[in-house]
């Protein structure tokens, strides 16, 4: 027994020594160059491409890029910022969360740098910088494609059911029973992911009352949530639920693992309201679906009697890179942002990925890219949109965003009335 004990102790100590050498080898900041944090998936290739291009020209002080998935990233960034240990450049969605970092003094103001170089700003779509602009000051630089939301359509299912994709709301309501009669559902929605519900209310409110409704809400006007358009929108949502428009089990279907999209591609549902980021997923997961021409797309239907512009679009304008205020690498990063982000070659990488960058004058490039039909559609609705509304849960401050998701889910579960929704949200904004 003593031998075994000696062996165990010895092994542990040895492992400890070897291990400590292994463990100590990593220098925390990963080198002397700037540190950049971004997300995995999607446009990852574009982020890496931009960094690779920069590092080729600056071998002495290379940029280190570290990638994380969505949810863990948000927590990690918060902890790092709060502890005063953030990266030099970080990926974000603009809106309320970026504003919280700006208010805490953690983000560098880039307005002056933009002013020094007018072309930097003018080649971009104006709407795209808005997400990172607070109080007239610019805090974020767009880095990837615009992500408007639209209806993805399964043509074959509509043919089977004997209907046309609806262009107006009354057409949409009329089509629902036709789908039910054939044992299918009109709308696939991923309730388990809550944010997927947002796209409905964002469009409904915009079509009914115009973009001003949410602008007032975001500005913090008291009782802005009680606008009639908001109440009507929630009523319409609950009407959809009652009519059986949504797919069976929609409250537990998730999007992240591809379940709701699979409902569309497998023919169990006719349409899914989703952002342009889903196209690459379909391309990877069900390429035949696209190749055979079963996939179609269209903007959100118009609503008779609504005052909003039919061309308005909701979604994510583009993701941003922001510079941390304490960073010692500001000069290098500005160089990087101007030269390598959304450069011509970077744009090509994005287009190949199925992303449409918010840069003016890309029509020719798009026409030559693979998936040109899709890309042109996305580009044109984004370019021509009178208003491009940032997703509400990104636009609002974190606590209100959370309240929104919670209450909206209750609406979709038909557990609260539209009036209760508005009251709850008005209260939540006051906190």
């Amino acid at each position: 027994m003593r031998k075994a004990l000696v062996w165990t102790l010895g092994l542990t100590l040895w492992l400890g020594l070897v291990g400590s050498r292994a463990m100590a080898q990593t220098s925390p900041a990963g080198g002397t160059g700037p540190l950049v944090w971004a997300l995995t998936g999607g446009d990852e290739k574009a982020y890496q491409d931009a960094v690779a291009q920069y590092n080729q020209k600056h071998p002495a002080a290379k940029i280190t890029l570290q990638l994380f998935p969505n949810e863990p990233y948000k927590q990690k960034l918060l902890v790092a910022m709060g502890a005063g240990n953030p990266p030099d450049l970080f990926f974000n969605w603009g809106g309320g969360i970026l504003k919280s970092y700006v208010d805490a003094g953690n983000v560098a103001d880039l307005t002056a740098d933009f002013a020094k170089d007018p072309t930097w700003k003018s080649r971009l779509f104006p709407a795209v910088l808005a997400a990172g602009t607070f109080g007239g000051k610019i805090y974020g630089v767009p880095i990837n494609g615009m992500q408007p939301v639209m209806f993805y359509i399964n043509n074959k299912v509509f043919q089977e059911v004997g209907a046309q994709p609806p262009k107006t709301w009354s057409e949409l309501m009329a089509v629902i029973p036709k789908f039910k009669a054939k044992g299918k559902a009109l709308l696939a929605v991923a309730g388990a992911d809550r944010w997927t519900y947002l796209m409905y209310i964002e469009y409904l409110v915009d079509r009914l009352g115009g973009s001003q409704v949410f602008t007032d809400i975001a500005a913090g006007k008291p009782d802005a949530w009680s606008h009639p358009a908001m109440l009507k929108a929630n009523e319409m949502i609950q009407e959809l639920v009652k009519q059986g428009a949504f797919v069976k089990g929609y409250t537990g279907t998730s999007y992240g693992t591809g379940q709701s999209t699979a409902l569309l591609t497998s023919g169990r549902a006719g349409m899914q309201l989703m952002g342009s980021w889903d196209y690459p997923n379909i391309l990877a997961g069900s390429p035949d679906f696209i190749a055979k021409g079963s996939l179609a797309w269209m903007p959100f239907p118009t609503i008779e009697g609504g005052t909003g512009s039919p061309g308005d679009v909701v979604g994510a304008a583009s993701n941003l890179y922001s510079v941390t205020s304490k960073s010692t690498h500001k000069a290098e990063l500005l160089d990087f942002l101007k030269t390598n982000i959304l450069s011509d070659s970077n744009i090509d990488v994005l287009l190949k990925n199925g992303s449409v960058p918010p840069v003016i004058g890309l029509e020719a490039k798009i026409a030559k890219a693979p998936q040109a039909a899709w890309l042109s559609f996305v580009y044109s609705i984004a370019k021509n949109a009178p208003s491009f509304q940032l997703s509400w849960d990104q636009a609002l401050p974190p606590a209100a965003a959370d309240a929104l998701l919670t209450n909206l889910e209750q609406v979709f579960l038909v557990k609260i009335t539209p009036k209760q929704f508005s009251d709850n949200m008005n209260k939540a904004m006051k906190r």
């Binding site: 948000k74 927590q75 918060l78 902890v79 910022m81 709060g82 919280s100 970092y101 208010d103 805490a104 953690n106 309730g191 388990a192 809550r194 797919v247 069976k248 089990g249 929609y250 409250t251 537990g252 279907t253 998730s254 693992t257 379940q259 699979a262 409902l263 169990r268 974190p398 606590a399 965003a401 959370d402 309240a403 889910e409 209750q410 579960l413 557990k415």
Partner: protein, 325 residues
């Protein structure tokens, strides 16, 4: 004489009268005698463990407790707010609901897991060869990571694509994770699936410790199998039952990972347990102070529970169950 086929601890007849201790003194007297003696192991044996635990687990928890008296969004400086977080946490209907839900989880988990683990533990403690192969397979659920289990059951329980879609299993077609009532029980089922191997192992180890002679004596007295289970196995497993129950109950109190991955607390509030409420308060609503208050209440509750269990079952008296043999 070691019995290779014995199901319990074999006791040698070598050694100075150890096989059948003839100790006639009552247990209390024995303990008393010990107190007078050389004083037992010194603190130094436990010091490293106390130091590590204190430094990296207790100290953070104390900080968390202090944070409960502040309001903090994670950025900037915390602001002292006294008892308001605690007051709000206790009065908030969502947190209250989370509390009740957690209690429900604790009780349901215990009711589901303990009988199954007991039976399985006794079963696996048998010595047939195929049982050891089975034991490895039974254990794999515990070895899987949360990501694995989350993705697997999310997919299997999907109302349109999972087992609900398999034609031969029509009775399994339900909205497992989307129906508010079912979602909770689905979580209980998956958590049980994950942890039954562990508690089965505890019970198996416990059963193997029961000396065979007790069973042999009972057979001589003509006891049937049920009687032996009820009057021998269960009592001898008493402390194992306490350990396992404590781990199940306190574990359910702090259970977070899998629920977060599978339902995120939904649909609605159907699976929003207390640890989830705490986590979402911290990272979704950026209310670190409030989350810390909830965390402290959790720890307090867990500690209270453990202490009650321990006191109630005589666990802390550190006496062997096999005394008096």
């Amino acid at each position: 004489m070691t019995d290779a086929a014995g199901a319990g601890a074999g006791r040698d007849s070598d050694g100075p009268g150890l096989a059948m201790p003839v100790d006639a003194a009552p247990p209390g007297a024995r303990a008393g005698r010990k107190r007078g003696e050389r004083g037992g192991p010194n603190l130094a044996m436990a010091l490293p463990a106390l130091a590590m635990f204190g430094g990296f687990a207790l100290a953070p928890m104390v900080l968390v407790f202090v944070l409960g008296f502040t309001q903090w969004s994670g950025l900037g400086k915390p602001v002292w707010t006294g008892l308001s977080n605690w007051h709000e946490a206790v009065h908030d209907p969502v947190t209250q609901g989370a509390g009740w839900l957690t209690l429900k989880l604790m009780i349901t988990s215990w009711l589901v897991q303990t009988p199954i683990c007991l039976l399985l533990g006794v079963f696996i403690a048998g010595r047939q060869r195929y049982r050891s192969v089975l034991a490895v397979i039974y254990f794999v659920p515990l070895l899987l990571s949360t990501v694995a289990i989350g993705i697997t059951f999310r997919a299997l329980l999907d109302p349109n694509f999972g087992v609900s879609a398999a034609p031969s299993l029509a009775f399994l077609a339900h909205d497992w994770l989307g129906d508010e009532d079912l979602a909770f029980y689905s979580i209980v089922a998956v958590v049980s699936w994950q942890f039954i191997p562990f508690h089965t192992l505890l019970y198996q180890a416990g059963v193997r410790q029961i000396p065979r002679i007790i069973y042999e004596a009972a057979i001589v007295d003509g006891a049937g199998r049920l009687a032996m289970f009820w009057y021998i196995t269960l009592p001898q497993l008493r402390y194992t039952i306490v350990t396992s129950s404590m781990l199940i109950l306190v574990g359910s109190l702090t259970y977070f990972d899998l629920v977060y991955v599978m339902t995120g607390g939904g649909p609605g509030f159907a699976t929003r347990l207390l640890p989830l409420d705490m986590f979402l308060s911290a990272f979704s609503r950026r209310e670190m102070g409030r989350a810390s208050a909830i965390a402290s209440l959790l720890v307090g509750g867990g500690l209270l529970l453990s202490l009650v269990l321990v006191r109630f079952s005589g666990f802390a008296r550190m006496r062997s169950q096999q005394e008096g043999l």
